[in-house]
Symmetry: C2
């Protein structure tokens, strides 16, 4: 489910273009990356890209909504689960960390470049992001009510946690002295301890 391919089968030309576009958008930003550069990396002329996609903005749409849909899907799964509040939050955090590690470029682009979407996709994305954070905050608030979590502003906490994870960028780029698994455990420890009552 979702556009991010987990196997090597069925990789179409369009998928390759999207993948290369994500990589360039991440490196240079959406506006600074040109269709000619994407074409270069794919190995065709710029005009040929338009046999597979409608516009540069369509590439951004696909990348952003692919990620957003995965988030929504995960949120529904977690909400429907029987997990404790703390376990729900941990599950969401691990999902975000995994996404950052395994679908780095897509997640990075969707996080930092979604502002360049054009309407109606832009407002759609704004809604999805707002809604996701509200649902996340609602879980935290439930935890506070049940006294599993210390009294803290839930929306602030959501922002802290999501942006903390979104910042793995620099780790990824630097000389990876720590493994993905180690990174994940370190982040989980830090973030979950920020939640617990002392």
């Amino acid at each position: 489910m979702g556009r991010i391919k987990t196997t090597n089968k069925e990789i179409s030309r369009k998928d390759i273009i999207i993948e290369k576009a994500a990589s360039l958008f991440k490196e240079k930003g959406f506006k600074a990356a040109s269709m000619r550069e994407i074409a270069d990396v794919v190995g065709v002329e710029a005009a040929s890209l338009y046999n597979h996609i409608k516009s540069k903005n369509e590439l951004l749409n696909i990348i952003c909504f692919d990620v957003a849909n995965r988030y929504t899907h995960k949120m529904e799964e977690v909400e429907a689960s029987e997990l404790s509040v703390l376990a729900k939050i941990e599950s969401l955090l691990r999902f975000h960390i995994d996404g950052m590690i395994h679908h780095f470029e897509q997640v990075y682009v969707s996080d930092r470049e979604w502002k360049h979407l054009d309407n109606p996709y832009l407002s759609n994305m704004q809604n999805q992001r707002r809604t996701y954070r509200k649902r996340f905050a609602a879980i935290i608030e439930q935890g506070i009510k049940q006294k599993e979590i210390k009294k803290i502003d839930a929306s602030t906490t959501v922002l802290i946690m999501l942006h903390a994870i979104g910042g793995i960028e620099s780790w990824h780029r630097s000389t990876q002295k720590i493994s993905g698994k180690e990174l994940e455990e370190n982040m989980i420890t830090f973030l979950m301890d920020g939640l617990r009552k002392i």
Copy 2:
């Protein structure tokens, strides 16, 4: 010290241009914001901007290095202080939160758009950022050695904390239901508790 003005005196035309540029760079991104738009907001023709600045990139240089120099200055101050490790970290975090609240646009731009600097400024900035994080991590490592802080990977922790604070963006934009001071205390509580031994 530093270019960010704290009084209303001595605001030159150039300062106004930089301020408006920071605002537009934050809203649309460096590449997407045009000199003509900046000129519009300032209230002159695009060509007139060049009587005060040399290039679009100079605007970004000024914004980014202004912020970076403030960070370096603060770091030196903290390192030279007699504070405990935990107090040093708290002081740095409060500095970052304050910067995010009071110099929002400059800090935001310097954080997300520095990649568009051109050399030699680009590599200079990369060095400054790397160095800053290393010095921050060194403080944390000292705290671990002194058993004031729980065993956790110091570099990961720095990234978590800095990005958590850098993400206040969304709070600032949304309907500010929480005051700056409240936000600061919530963040400090969360982040400092992630550090302490349980």
